[in-house]
Amino acid sequence: MTLHTVQDYVSQYKSLKQSLNGSVSPWLKELKDSAIEQFQKQGFPNKKVEEWKYTDISSFLESSFKPRHHEDSERIRGDLAIFGDGKENIEPFIFEGLDCYRVVFINGLFSKDLSKIEDLPSQVFLGNLQEFIKCHPHIARNYVNKKLHSKKNAFTSLNTALFSNGACLYVREGQKIKKPLHFIYFSTNSNSAHYLRNLFIIGKASKVTILESFGGEENAHYFNSVVSQIVTQEQSQCEHYRFQLEGKNAFHISDLYFEQGLKSEVRSFLFGIGGRFSRQDVNVPFTQGHAQCFLKGLLKPKGSQVIDFHTLVEHNVSNCVSDQFFKAVVEEKAQGVFDGKIIVAKGTKGTQARQINKNLLLSEGAQVFAKPNLEIYADDVECTHGSSTGQLDQKALFYLKSRGISEEEARKMLIHAFVSEIIESIPQEAVRKKIDHIVFSS
């Protein structure tokens, strides 16, 4: 059976349910049941739904995928056989000179062989969600059982219903982990749909650096559905990177939540470069005061790619700070979408919210849709947002050419300068170098 319509997915859920009978905790079963019900009610979003106005998913609906999420040892072996020991596929994602812990997923399945989880401090759990649910059922339930899908769209519902595993990190109180944790999610040509549910919990006063890389074989056809919760408890800090470098024929739809505790700080760098169609939602629902969140993003679609970032920052409590800086470079006949929503709730004080979006259109046929929006219900706020869209500065281009630089080289220099603002702000040198290389060879 191939997955195509809402009904296909619903039937698939039903058959999966039977095969997993008994091996899933009741709360998880209930969560998944409610999610599939919600999915059936919602159906896939179309252009009439405000949040999907500029994101045309018809190419996704026209594709069909085989369900691929059974923790079937037969299949894992099969995959790895085709895949080899996988090392050469992982190579491109590794950051030279940066020693990291590593968790690897192939086609949505956890690969112990390719992961590097040795020598972890005792207060840290690093691995996959299934294992975490077994070891720490209460903690897992506390976070995973949040009905995220009730506030969102069909894709989050679908993920909740169909995920069986995902990456997991649990850092207890007071741990400052110097070595970064790198999560690699690689997919091969299997015409399959993968559902990952990730959970990263950073305990009180702890500090971590998380890197996530999504990639696939060049022409592989697959669908990656990712829902991640990054929880930073009181006074903790998280430096987060996400590199969406999926294959040219892939679909990537993800929903990322930063759940921040009192006085916590999150700095996240998000890159949308790969995939035929990618939509990344980033949610920051502040529920504790004095939290700070800094988001920086770069979209770089070309060919006929569609790269879409939707951010939702909700200042539900006082004294939080949010700062967003997103740039898009759109080439050939590609489409870039940035929709940044900031909501400041009634009765809150001392909110500082900033958002800047800059878009560069490089060719005829390139398109950008930007919608920076503000919903403010409190008056003690400092909120600004700005969005500008245009092309390379013609005067600057001419200046470079008048100094003997070729048109192509000059354009490259100016694009590099445009994009550098985001890349230069990355604190980790190895990461900076790598992403610089990737952005300019992509």
Partner: protein, 482 residues
């Protein structure tokens, strides 16, 4: 928030709506409800040619197939379209040969509103078309304008005297299928203003239409059409008020502007419909479709609006920039107080080459008001070197109101430049204190700061109206923060 500030701002926004009086004028009305017979009745009453009746009926039939739009940020009780009276005209005592013959009651009513129907007084050299309950009752300076070839009269008169113009241009910018309220308007509109400026003529005076709703339970459906031929210029002002009533009244108007090569149209609105009382009861529902088409090269259309009234405002004056080098501008101040809701903004559609648009929107929210800016800047594929600059600022007076900004930016042309900025803030305590230490009372301080906030927009209004707008803002602000 310090006590005194609340009290002061509260005082400012609590002043009475001074246009709330009612006038008893004998009027002729159609029965309640809407169906094809009512439409035929309206058309017959106005002695309209057949083409117009057919147009109305086409619109009505189309309307029956449409669904009322729902908007997230505007909430209102459902409108019962069958409970509205679609035609109410003040009974004409006789055919007017001169302005002196205007019903003295009508004249005094307009005088109370500060509108002079007396040509001798030469009220700032502004020609006025006074419209009461969607029926034009008097138009000043018609003769003088006629000498220049300018036609400025009520829409109904234009239908009778210049049917060929109406037939050619009606619906050219807002087709009857455009949106729910525009379609309804196309079926039942009763009157409005018509203005035609011939080639190369620069209209020597401000043209103004003053709308006054008087009769109860009626819907107001005005239709305004302004055509500026090549090389012409006109500056137009629209003012509106309505009596205070408990029930909501619907105002669904359509304004079409057409500017040909090298023509310029300036359209300004100072809207002060009854906003409903402090508890949010009553007030006008203002759902208006306003659109300007810069059809010709180098043409220019600018919209300036000061919206302080109506319970609900839903309007997006737009510019279609078709002609090369055409320019569209939108300057707006929207104030929402008590329980008012405003969802207003603009659409700038860039089609031709080298087009430019400027959007300056200032929203002030007070009391429990909800103020939303919704704008669209659309750069079509062929709109080479288009440029847009938008600035949307919101000022929040008090902690119970909301200010929202939803700009939609769609760019399909790489040579185009679109810049959008928005800020949201409040009047800071230290700013207020600074003014008070210099001797100003809190109300004066708030008024000073708010006027400073709106300065850029007020500057775009014709002089006399800028002063009126400032005063209007002061009045509407009473009791703004609580």
């Amino acid at each position: 928030m310090p006590q005194e500030k609340n009290v002061a701002i509260k005082k400012i926004t609590e002043q009475e709506y001074k246009y709330g009086f009612e006038t008893h004028i004998e009027s002729e009305q159609a029965p309640c409800g809407l169906n094809e017979d009512i439409i035929r009745f309206i058309s017959k009453k106005k002695k309209e040619p057949l083409f117009l009746l057919e147009w109305r009926l086409k619109a009505y039939r189309h309307w029956l197939k449409m669904e009322e739009p729902t908007w997230q940020h505007v909430k209102y009780a459902p409108i019962d379209y069958q409970k509205i009276i679609y035609y109410s005209a003040p009974k004409p005592k006789k055919e007017l040969k001169s302005l002196d013959e205007v019903d003295p009651e009508l004249r005094s009513m307009f005088q109370k509103l500060g509108i002079s129907l007396d040509e001798q007084k030469r009220f700032s050299g502004v020609a006025v078309d006074a419209v009461l309950d969607s029926v034009s009752v008097a138009t000043t300076f018609k003769k003088k304008l006629k000498e220049l070839g300018i036609i400025f009269c009520s829409f109904s008169e234009a239908v009778r005297e210049h049917p060929h113009l109406i037939e050619e241009y009606l619906g050219c910018v807002v087709p009857y299928t455009d949106n729910y309220f525009a379609t309804l308007n196309s079926a039942v509109f009763s009157d409005g203003s018509f203005c035609y400026i011939p080639k190369g003529v620069r209209c020597p005076m401000e043209l103004s239409t003053y709308f006054r709703i008087n009769a109860a339970n009626t819907g107001q459906f005005e239709r305004t059409l302004i055509i500026a031929e090549e090389g012409s210029y006109v500056s137009y002002l629209e003012g509106c008020t309505a009596p205070m009533r408990d029930e909501n009244q619907l105002h669904a108007a359509v304004v079409e502007l057409l500017a040909k090569d090298n023509a310029e149209i300036k359209y300004a609105t100072v809207q002060n419909w009854y906003p409903g009382d402090k508890e949010g009861k009553g007030g006008i529902y203002n759902f208006v479709t306003k659109r300007g088409k810069c059809a010709g090269k180098n043409s220019k259309i600018s919209w300036t609006q000061v919206e302080t009234g109506s319970a609900i405002t839903w309007k997006y004056p737009s510019c279609i920039l078709k002609g090369d080098n055409s320019v569209g501008e939108f300057y707006s101040v929207a104030l929402t107080n008590n329980y008012q809701q405003a969802d207003t903004g603009t659409k700038m559609i860039h089609i031709g080459k080298n087009t430019r648009s400027t959007i300056i929107s200032k929203g002030i929210a007070a009391g429990h008001g909800q103020n939303t800016y919704r704008g669209l800047v659309k750069i079509q594929k062929g709109a080479d070197r288009a440029q847009n600059y938008s600035q949307c600022d919101s000022l929040l007076l008090g902690s119970q109101c909301g200010a929202h900004t939803f700009p939609y930016i769609e760019s399909k042309n790489k040579t185009a430049r679109v810049e959008h900025e928005a800020t949201t803030s409040k009047i800071r305590d230290d700013q207020l204190f600074y003014c008070r230490q210099r001797g100003m009372s809190e109300e004066d301080a708030v008024s000073l700061i708010v006027n400073g906030f709106c300065k850029e927009v007020f500057r775009k209004l014709p002089m006399e109206f800028a002063v009126e707008a400032q005063k209007l803002l002061d009045v509407s602000l009473e009791g703004a923060v609580g």
